[in-house]
Amino acid sequence: MFADKHILVTGATSGIGRAVVVDLLRTEAHLIAVGRNRKHLEDLALLGKDKVTTIEFDLTDFGGYRKLIADMPSLDGLVCSAGIVENNPLRFFSLEKYQRTVDVNQTAPLHLVAELAKANRLRDKASIVLLSSITGTSIGMKGTAAYAATKAAQAAYAKVMALEFAHKGIRVNAIAPGMVQTPLVDGSHQLSAEAIELDKARYPLGKRYAEPEEIASVVRFLLSVDASFMTGQNVVVDGGFTVQ
C-alpha cells in the first residue's frame, strides 16, 4: 500500500512520532524522520536501515525550513507529530512558555506545510496528518491554555488545508488523542502517581491511557488509500473519554 511512498514524520524521536515511524517501517514506505535528539535519530536509522532518512532539525528554526526541504523528494505523506506541553496556569502565566508552546505546536506545522506547498513538494493525492488533542477541541485542563489552543488550531488547520489542497487530491486530517502513555506524560512528573491512576480510571476503555501504537495505527489509516474520501476531519482516539 505504501510502496515507493515518501512520508515525513516530525517529532520522530519520541512518543507518537516514533511509534508512527516504527509502525510504518512494517510497510514499504520510505520515511524521513525529523527530530532534535541525535541519539534517538541514530537509533531510528539503525532500526530502519535504508528505509529511513534521519534529519536533525529544530522545528523552531523557521528560517531553516527551505534548506530542510531543498533536497527532499516530493512527499506522499506528512505527519506533524512534534509537540510540547508545559504547565502554565493563569496566576503564574509565563509569556515565554506560551510562545515556546505556540512555536513548536502551532507555528511549526503550518509553516512546514506552507513551505512544502510553495516548493511543490507535496505530490497529488498526498495525505497530511496533524496531531491535535481532545484538550482544546473537546475538553479543558487546568494550566494548559497554550497547549489547548495550539491543539485546537490543528483541527482548524485540517479544515482549511483540506479545502486549499482538495483540487490536488491532497487530504488533510487531524487526530485528537486523549492521554497517551508517552515520555511527555512519563517525564512530566507534574502529577503524583496516585493522581495519574485516578485520571486513568476516567477512561472507559480499559481504565488506562492509550499506547502510542494505538495512535500510530490511526495515522497509518489516514495516510493510506483506505481513507481516500476523508479530509478536513478531526478523528478522536480517546478510549471513550469524551463521550461520557
Binding site: R91, K142, H189
Partner: protein
C-alpha cells in the same frame, strides 16, 4: 524568605486567604483543595523560587510547613 512570605504565595496559588492558613495547616483538607492545585504549586515554585517540584514530592507533604521545608531545601541546594 520566611514561612510567612511563603504562606502568602501559597494562598495566592490556591486562591484562598493567607489569614486562614498557618504552618500547621493540613492543606489537602482545605475545602478549595483539589489535586490539580498541585499544578498551581509547581508553577508557583518555578515562578517565585526558580525550582522544579514534582507532583509526587508535593503529594508526600501534609502541612504547609512540610511544603516550605521541601521548597527551602531545594532553594538552598
Amino acid at each position: 524568605m520566611t514561612i510567612d512570605d511563603f504562606i502568602e504565595k501559597f494562598a495566592f496559588a490556591i486562591e484562598t486567604e493567607a489569614s486562614s492558613l498557618s504552618p500547621e495547616t493540613d492543606y489537602k483538607q482545605l475545602p478549595q483543595w483539589d489535586s490539580l492545585n498541585t499544578l498551581a504549586l509547581i508553577a508557583m515554585a518555578d515562578a517565585e523560587y526558580g525550582i522544579t517540584l514534582s507532583g509526587q514530592a508535593i503529594n508526600d507533604t501534609r502541612t504547609i510547613a512540610d511544603l516550605w521545608t521541601l521548597i527551602s531545601s531545594k532553594v538552598k541546594a
